[in-house]
């Protein structure tokens, strides 16, 4: 075990940085490139039952400290995704299959397919803030989440992670529902519901009017969620939201994250961000006499 290695719900990661869902995750070749760039694991684009075009453009707004996106869950559908997984699983790092659906049965049948494609784990998208009938619309109801996690747990053997939304006052209830249903990890957070307006055009910029805010703008929200989740459940937590540097990762780990995901920084910093983070983590460990990253998980819980 090298210093940066972490164990996430039984999955061995060479380092704690995973590619976040929806970023360069729609094709096998682009996933491969992220593995080569140094990511410890890859999460695919959220895949559904059928091909989906997503929303018309504009689907993304660029802000000084982040993005607002309303892609609308475009994707080739689970059947065609077999081909992409065949390529992605050659990367040598765990590939986690992200899924979206509206009802437990559909989540389960998608998960069975993903597992058969070689996914090391399943990530349930219970949190996309802009797709009608999916994501956050099902993910803010603890009972619905319990039913989805239970049915997927019954269907597959690989670990099942639930990705949660910060756009609710019931985050901790939802997380407890994941734990009670036998889920293996919690991923937090997905994007924060937001919008942008053009003053000159006097209208919203995104075609979908609202979208999800990501990037450094949401890091304090992600940190708060991970911190609270760490006190509410025993499950390992994957921290996501605005991570661009090793310091960001250390903050998330001290809040309670076992591993992290990086999304927007791939656009803002480039693919080199994975190596930069890992180099920074190794330096911090050496300077502070740490043998394992797990030593700092939850370290900020002093009260």
């Amino acid at each position: 075990m090298t210093a940066l290695e972490v164990d996430l719900a039984g999955i061995k990661l060479r380092n704690p940085t995973l590619l976040a869902s929806g970023v360069m995750g729609e094709t096998g070749d682009s996933l491969l490139r992220v593995a080569v760039a140094g990511a410890g694991g890859l999460v695919t684009k959220s895949i559904g039952l059928e091909p989906r075009k997503g929303y018309p453009n504009p689907t993304l707004v660029e802000l000084p400290d982040g993005y607002i996106n309303a892609m609308g869950l475009p994707g080739p559908g689970i059947e065609a995704f077999a081909e992409e997984m065949e390529i992605a699983t050659k990367s040598g790092v765990p590939v986690i299959g992200s899924l979206f659906a509206a009802i437990p049965e559909d989540f389960a049948s998608l998960a069975i397919k993903m597992e058969s494609y070689g996914a090391a784990a399943i990530e349930l998208n219970l949190s996309c803030p802009h797709a009608k009938g999916y994501g956050m619309e099902v993910g803010i109801d603890p009972d619905a989440v319990h039913a989805i996690v239970s049915s997927v747990k019954d269907a597959v053997r690989v670990p099942v992670m639930a990705k949660l939304t910060p756009n609710t006052h019931r985050l901790l209830d939802v997380a407890r529902a994941v734990e009670a249903a036998g889920g293996d990890a919690i991923v937090a957070i997905n994007t924060v519901k937001a919008m942008a307006i053009s003053v000159e055009a006097r209208r919203p910029i995104l075609h979908n009017t609202t979208g999800g805010l990501s990037g450094p703008a949401i890091k304090p929200i992600g940190l708060r969620c991970v911190y609270e989740l760490h006190e509410a459940v025993k499950l390992p937590i994957v921290g996501v939201g605005g991570i661009e540097s090793s310091r960001d990762v250390l903050e998330y780990m001290m809040a309670g994250a076992t591993a992290v995901q990086v999304g927007s920084a791939v656009g803002r910093r480039g693919l080199k961000v994975f190596r930069e983070i890992c180099d920074g983590l190794a330096e911090h460990m050496a300077a502070n006499g740490l043998n394992r990253l797990s030593e700092i998980v939850g370290a900020a819980h002093v009260h």
């Binding site: 929806g22 970023v23 360069m24 995750g25 729609e26 094709t27 096998g28 070749d29 682009s30 491969l32 490139r33 684009k45 091909p51 989906r52 075009k53 997503g54 018309p56 453009n57 504009p58 689907t59 993304l60 707004v61 660029e62 993005y67 996106n69 892609m71 475009p74 994707g75 080739p76 559908g77 065609a80 053009s198 003053v199 000159e200 055009a201 209208r203 910029i205 999304g263 927007s264 791939v266 656009g267 803002r268 480039g270």
Partner: protein, 256 residues
Amino acid sequence: MFIEARITERIRSGRGITTLLFDRPMEAKAGQIVMVWIPGVDEIPMALSHISGVASITVKEVGQATKALSALNVGDLVGLRGPYGNSWDLTPRRILAVGGGVGMSPIMTAVEAVNDRSRVDVAIGARDAGEIIFEERARKASDDVRVSTDDGSYGIKGTVVSLADAMMREKRYDMVLGCGPEIMNKYLLKACNENKVPCQLSLERIMKCGTGLCGSCVIDGLRVCVEGPIFTGEQISRMTEFGKCKRDDAGLKVKI
């Protein structure tokens, strides 16, 4: 960066081809692209057709968004996001710049950026005379500008690839720059390989985010909006999808 810009000038460059100049400059390099928002309609990728002084795009009408964009008037508003992507490498000594149809747009900025009439030659081609654009602009920036049309209605009769091929046989070039439909790029690459001249070609795919996140613009895992839109002949020769297939809005492979 996102800016709101107004149209200051609208020039008919060819049949169904319109150049729109904006009231805001844009710090960009030749070959770079912007995402152009037409409020209430769509947002689409466009190469910049002027980069020094004013910024402009040159639009060919092919569908709903390009028609709406072409119909905008002086004073109308668009949103501009970018510039995105890489730019032409203009360091090689003798350059042949090849533009097919509206593909002349990023080729023209390259020719002007070379800023030495004797170092860069230009081959302009289109289906017919109506779609030949920027001939005068090219003649101001290059000593040797030649024109071809598929139907012979103007210039030499034939494709712009056969024109470029003839120029490569006649003169020595250190680099070819190309932009046009994928089928043109495909044969141009072949001609460059036969004449042993390295090339850079500007490619197109569906673009959504423009910033390297969504992955909709990939060709064999390379993003047109980050690693492209300009790729070297060597990169393109290694692509399995170039000239054969592209991804649709859902990310499904479709034949070209």
